[in-house]
């Protein structure tokens, strides 16, 4: 199978030490995931479940206090394999933008407030391409034009743009060098609904035209439904379910996924939406066994003792739940 990035048994913890107090936050605890070439993979879950951290690791941006405690992480570009965890920071940075790019959360502040957009484009392009200022300017203007953005933005400062426009510019900035893999962290949060739709549209357009792969983190199931080919559900630092988008929405198997889907408003259903009882656990001291069991309505005795393994249900559908793996599969969905 042709994958672009693959994590195996990955553990990434935040370890801090300050004034004699040491804390370990297990943001990613034993996750394996493959990103296939050309797909749009969505990562969903409540805030604080490790989504953003997973994205950081996929990006290879592992800075203290974040530390990789176990597992492997690989990229494949063409025929070449790269072991991310053993690559030097400089080598990783060389891969950025030309191969792997990143659209950050909160585009309000990712553009340097005292630098014209055009100069920022120049900075980012010239880092990876041997071009002069005129050439980078031309390249940026052309690209902005292809995305339907006015070249005027090159001459303004970030504060002169609206929030939605800023996010579009950021998307353009992230994808101007046609990277193979684009990682987007909550690209639509903090934007109003209409603008969100435009941004989602733009992301899809970029992905389709450039034939790139998009990994998207969002807590908004609506965005996932509109955009994703596959959806991965994270809970408390663990991957609990992954499947094609239709399967996740039509026949979710993990009780947590079921809750997430049920909490969505539907056009044909006017009944009250159920929200998930309780709160997600702290990642500093997660519950034993299945991390969802304290909130799970179907919890078995085994759920509090053993960690459920990720079980393949066929068609690329995987779930980590004893209801599926121990009790037989007579009741799918």
């Amino acid at each position: 199978m042709s994958f672009l990035a693959e994590a195996k048994d990955l553990r990434a913890y935040y370890i801090t030490r300050s004034y004699g107090v040491e804390r370990t936050v297990k943001a990613i605890d034993d996750i394996s995931i493959q990103i296939k070439e050309g797909e749009i993979l969505s990562i969903a879950g409540e805030s604080g479940c490790g989504k953003s951290t997973l994205l950081k690791v996929l990006l290879g941006a592992i800075d203290p206090p974040l530390r990789i405690v176990g597992g492997t992480m690989q990229y494949r570009f063409g025929e070449d394999y790269y072991d991310v965890l053993s690559m030097s920071v400089d080598d990783l940075k060389k891969k950025r933008w030309s191969q792997i790019s990143y659209i950050p959360q909160g585009s309000m502040h990712v553009l340097n407030p005292v630098r014209k957009i055009g100069n920022t484009f120049h900075d980012f392009i010239v880092t990876h391409r041997d071009l002069d200022k005129q050439e980078t300017g031309k390249m940026a203007r052309n690209y902005l034009g292809r995305l339907g953005l006015s070249a005027e933005v090159m001459n303004v400062y970030p504060h002169q743009l609206s929030g939605g426009m800023r996010q579009r510019v950021t998307i353009a900035l992230a994808t101007v060098l046609s990277p193979k893999l684009v990682l987007a962290d909550e690209p639509t949060t903090a934007l109003d609904v209409l603008v969100q739709r435009g941004v989602v549209q733009l992301l899809k357009e970029v992905q389709q035209r450039e034939g790139s792969t998009l990994v998207l983190v969002s807590h908004d199931m609506g965005v996932h439904a509109n955009l994703a080919d596959r959806i991965a559900i994270l809970y408390a630092g663990k991957l609990v379910e992954i499947a094609k988008t239709e399967r996740i929405f039509n026949s979710p198997t993990h009780p947590y996924t079921q809750y997430l889907i049920e909490s969505l408003p539907r056009l044909d259903d006017k009944s009250d939406r159920t929200s998930i009882p309780g709160r997600p656990p702290t990642l500093e001291n997660p519950p034993k066994g299945c991390r969802f069991h304290p909130r799970c309505p179907h919890a078995l005795e085994v759920c509090g003792q053993k960690v459920p393994p990720l079980t393949d249900l066929g068609n690329g559908h995987q779930t980590a739940c004893f209801l599926v793996s121990e009790v037989d599969n007579s009741e799918p969905g």
Partner: protein, 332 residues
């Protein structure tokens, strides 16, 4: 237009308020002490015995005129302002009848020269070092620099200057002890090099202390900016370190530094006065010292008024140039 209304005009109004308050305070202070200010000033004037009676009489008149003791307090206040508008700070008492403004004019180039040179150097040095130290705080070298500046910063101006005098003028007499230059002021190399030689120690004292202050501030600001989203994003994209430091960090940390420069000019100036006193450097600070030494109240008052207006104006210029640096103020 918008910039003028929302930024420039309020600054200019602030300047007017500052000058008004400053001058009013200097008007009120001498009047808070009971007694006849003319007699008090004369009696404390050490050189009185050596003056001939006619000079004393004209001095008395000048003082009475200066204090404008005729009329109500309000009339006096108005007169006080009228004189100032004419640039009249009255005569010096110790060097009667030289006008105070002339003495100030003589010292001004020295003080301004000392101040601008040391501010320019300490500004660039402090920001450059502080930014680098704040951007790579783990490096041992920067930690040493950091500790050094933290230990220098709190030392009072006088103490540091005194130490420099002890070390470099007494024990290793490399530099001249006092004065601004030797020889006649000409455009010759010897004269200019003698200015340089005489200024080196005073300037060094000022530079060391101001650099320490800028360093500490730059480092703190850099720590904040280095944690910002836009620097993080530029780092993620692999931008080179010098590009990030120059265009992403310094361009942003400069802004609060400039605002602070405007506000701290008064303190920098006070520091320069002390340094001038220690090194007998012929600027305004030294005139002030002579004024204290010879109980020349008028000279002290004049210098105080002049420095209030001067510093307020310099601060205004700094403030007005701020929009050049910050596009968020420029294009609102």
């Amino acid at each position: 237009m918008n910039l003028l209304k929302s930024y420039l005009l309020p600054r200019i109004a602030q300047w007017v308020i500052t000058v008004f308050i400053g001058i009013t305070v200097t008007f009120i202070i001498p009047r808070l002490i009971p007694g006849d200010p003319v007699e008090r000033t004369l009696s404390s004037l050490g050189s009185l015995q050596t003056l001939d009676p006619r000079a004393v009489e004209s001095l008395k008149e000048a003082l009475a005129d200066l204090y404008g003791l005729d009329g109500t307090q309000f009339d006096q206040y108005i007169n006080f302002w009228k004189r100032l508008f004419k640039g009249d700070l009255g005569p010096s008492l110790s060097a009667f009848p030289t006008p105070v403004i002339e003495i100030i004019a003589k010292g001004l180039p020295w003080t301004v020269g000392l101040l601008t040179t040391s501010t320019l150097i300490s500004w660039s040095l402090g920001i450059a070092l502080g930014t680098l130290a704040g951007y790579s705080p783990k490096r041992l070298w920067w930690q040493i620099v950091d500790k050094a500046f933290i230990s220098i910063y709190p030392i009072p101006h006088y103490i540091l200057a005194l130490i420099l005098v002890m070390v470099f003028s007494y024990y290793f007499p490399i530099f001249p002890l006092v004065g601004g230059a030797s020889g006649k002021p000409t455009l010759s190399w010897t004269y200019i090099s003698s200015i340089f030689e005489h200024s080196l120690l005073p300037a060094t004292s000022l530079i060391v202390l101001s650099t320490a202050f800028r360093f500490i501030m730059a480092k703190a600001l850099t720590t904040t900016v280095a944690g910002s989203d836009y620097v993080g994003y530029a780092e993620t994209a692999g931008l080179s370190k010098w590009r990030i430091v120059l265009f992403y960090v310094i361009q942003n940390t400069m802004l609060p530094q400039v605002t602070d420069l405007g506000l701290s000019l008064g303190a920098v100036f006070s520091g320069a006065l002390i340094i001038e006193i220690v090194f007998s450097y012929p600027g305004i600070g030294y005139s002030l010292y002579m004024g204290v030494f010879q109980a020349d109240f008028n000279l002290i008052l004049g210098i105080t008024i002049f420095s209030i207006v001067g510093i307020a104006t310099a601060a205004l210029i700094v403030d007005l140039s701020y929009p050049l640096l910050d596009p968020r103020v420029r294009y609102k």
